[in-house]
């Protein structure tokens, strides 16, 4: 449904309202459901039709960058990630299919099965909440393709910039406790998930995505099945009413709209586990190389990375002023041991103050106050180092065909005036 098919008698006076209505209904078509928050949208932040600048997604801040609306993919500009805990409306969205229609939380079930489960078992949401001990963890999720935009030769797919990352506080149960209720056979090597989202083509026999993690990652303390984000229902676009969470691994492992987990006796072979998806060359290749499927290896822990969330790039100060900077750093399964900054294109580096993670896989916060020696154009670069001594590179790291794992230093532009 497009805006121009107005049937209003007086299109001029009704146009704004109509545009809003039609945008909401085209949104509903994309989502396959009515927009829960649609009626709350103030006229000023109308969604005009998702192709327009300033369009907004349901439950999301209007300043997010929408990369794609079918399926919905949106990232958060770094300056909007300044909160220590990423709010729901700022959390990036990477959908592969169409989110489910009409979610009835009272009827939602989660099935645990698969060839390496001792028995198949089905839980309602209420049973999950009452049967198992509940935990709350801050977990960092980052899209495996975050930073893809910088690849040269370019990699196809959503051209993520910097902001396909966030760290929220998730509440739910340990995946391990739930798997053990079904019984994990000794031959288990992997778990795989299925969600209630549907394939873009509408074909009910196709899964949009069905990934997973090795059994040892699944059994970690912070690997969880969550129903709440920051103390509220998880936003619809982020997997309401139930999702998996594996902090520090490509966010595609953390299945949304979760309704089934299979315990596998081999590496899970669901959609986007095979071929080239979420894989990088097992051995590094020259940029632009075609790599055969069998030479591609599954991405596990994400690399060390950081983001300057204050100030926004393009800031100007006076020479007599000092500039406070702050941001977050994370390191996949590891811990960030230091964050440094440079104002001379990496020639010299100085330390920032760095916090410890609240729990494993929570991002850490850094800050520092910078004084500049003279007027002019500067770039402030941030570089994190993990507890293995591995740092972020200053240029695009290992080229790979699908454009994953770009953890090059974040840079912001600053002008110091008289």
């Amino acid at each position: 449904m497009k805006n121009k098919t107005s049937k209003q008698d007086d299109p001029k006076t009704n146009r704004r309202l109509f545009l809003k209505k039609s945008a909401l209904s085209s949104m509903a078509m994309i989502l396959g459901t009515d927009i829960v928050f649609g009626h709350n949208l103030p006229i000023g932040m109308n969604i005009i039709g998702l192709e327009e600048v300033g369009a907004s997604l349901p439950g999301k801040d209007g300043r997010m960058t929408i990369l794609n609306d079918r399926p919905i993919n949106a990232e958060t500009p770094p300056y909007l990630l300044d909160d220590k805990i990423t709010p729901g409306e700022m959390f990036f969205v990477r959908n592969n299919g169409v989110p489910p229609i009409e979610i009835d939380v009272n009827k939602w079930t989660l099935t645990i099965g698969g060839e390496s489960a001792k028995k198949e078992i089905v839980f309602t949401l209420a049973e999950l909440k009452s049967k198992f001990k509940q935990y709350t963890y801050q977990l960092t999720l980052e899209c495996g393709g975050n930073g893809r935009k910088e690849f040269n030769p370019p990699a196809k797919g959503n051209q993520w910039g910097l902001g396909a990352v966030g760290c929220a506080e998730w509440t739910g149960v340990r995946l391990r406790d739930v798997l053990e209720e079904a019984g994990v056979k000794s031959d288990a090597v992997y778990i795989g998930y299925y969600g209630a989202d549907t394939h873009l083509s509408g074909d009910p026999n196709k899964d949009p995505i069905s990934r997973g993690v090795p059994i040892n990652k699944a059994m970690e303390e912070e690997s969880m099945i969550a129903w709440a984000m920051n103390g509220e229902d998880i936003p619809l676009l982020n997997g309401h009413p139930l999702r998996l969470l594996f902090g520090g691994w490509p966010a595609s492992c953390s299945g949304k709209w979760l309704n089934k987990i299979v315990i596998r006796n081999k590496v899970h072979d669901g959609v986007k586990m095979l071929g080239q998806a979420y894989r990088i060359p097992c051995d590094a290749v020259e940029p632009g190389t075609k790599v055969a499927d069998e030479d591609m290896c599954i991405i596990e822990s994400m690399p060390v990375k950081s983001l300057i969330t204050f100030p926004k790039t393009g800031g100007m100060i006076s020479l007599n002023e000092e500039l406070p900077i702050r941001g977050h750093a994370w390191a996949g399964d590891n811990i960030v041991s230091k964050v440094e900054y440079s104002i001379d294109f990496g020639a010299t580096w100085n330390s920032c103050k760095l916090s410890n993670p609240v729990n494993r896989h929570a991002w850490q916060h850094f800050d520092v106050t910078i004084s500049f020696p003279k007027v002019g154009y500067y770039e402030v670069w941030a570089k994190a180092t993990d507890n293995n001594g591995i740092s972020q590179p200053m240029i695009l790291p290992g080229w790979n065909p699908k454009g994953y794992l770009n953890n090059a230093c974040h840079r912001i532009a600053i002008k110091v005036n008289k």
Binding site: K2, R16, E51, V53, K149, N152, P153, G157, E379
Partner: protein, 173 residues
């Protein structure tokens, strides 16, 4: 068996001759016209095809304001088709129809690939996403994509680009 009508041979042959000549003349005219139309069409194929596409309204360059939603989304500004954000060029309508019936135009315009790379993406969509075979139109689709969305050499890192109007004073309070 029907009995043959006795007719004068001369009269019959004369009128037949005229009739035959008339048919030949008419046929020749039709063939000539067809050939001419074909020649004209093939010489000006692109411009003729474009003349059947909707004529977008050309508008002067201007800063984006929220009020643009009162304008025709099908217009073209600075060579960009506003509703889709795609470059307005030969075969635009064909590419728009072929691509955006399944996914957002944003997926096209944010990507860069060689002709071969775009062809591989089309193959992938046909193999896994149920995309139709474009037949002879694939060449034109690839012409458009190659011309407008080919990779540029970006090196290992690009400059940080801040537009003049985007520089701001940092609030240090």
């Amino acid at each position: 068996m029907r009995k043959k009508k006795p007719v004068s041979f001369e009269k019959h042959s004369a009128s037949s001759l005229f009739k035959a000549l008339r048919i030949v003349k008419n046929s020749a005219l039709i063939v000539l016209c067809s050939v001419l139309i074909c020649i004209i069409y093939f010489s000006f194929q692109d411009s003729i095809n474009r003349s059947f596409e909707p004529k977008p309204e050309q508008i002067e360059s201007r800063m984006y304001t929220r009020n643009t939603n009162t304008l025709d989304p099908n217009r073209v500004e600075n060579g960009i088709h506003v509703e889709t954000g795609m470059i307005y060029d030969n075969n635009f309508e064909l590419v728009r129809r072929s691509c955006t019936s399944c996914h957002s135009s944003k997926l096209v315009i944010q990507n860069r690939a060689t002709r071969e790379g775009w062809a591989q993406m089309i193959d992938w969509m046909q193999e896994t996403q149920g995309l139709q075979d474009f037949g002879k139109y694939e060449v034109k689709i690839l012409d458009y994509l190659e011309k407008n969305y080919s990779p540029t050499e970006t090196g290992r890192r690009q400059n940080l680009v801040i537009e003049d109007e985007d520089w701001y004073h940092v609030n240090l309070d």
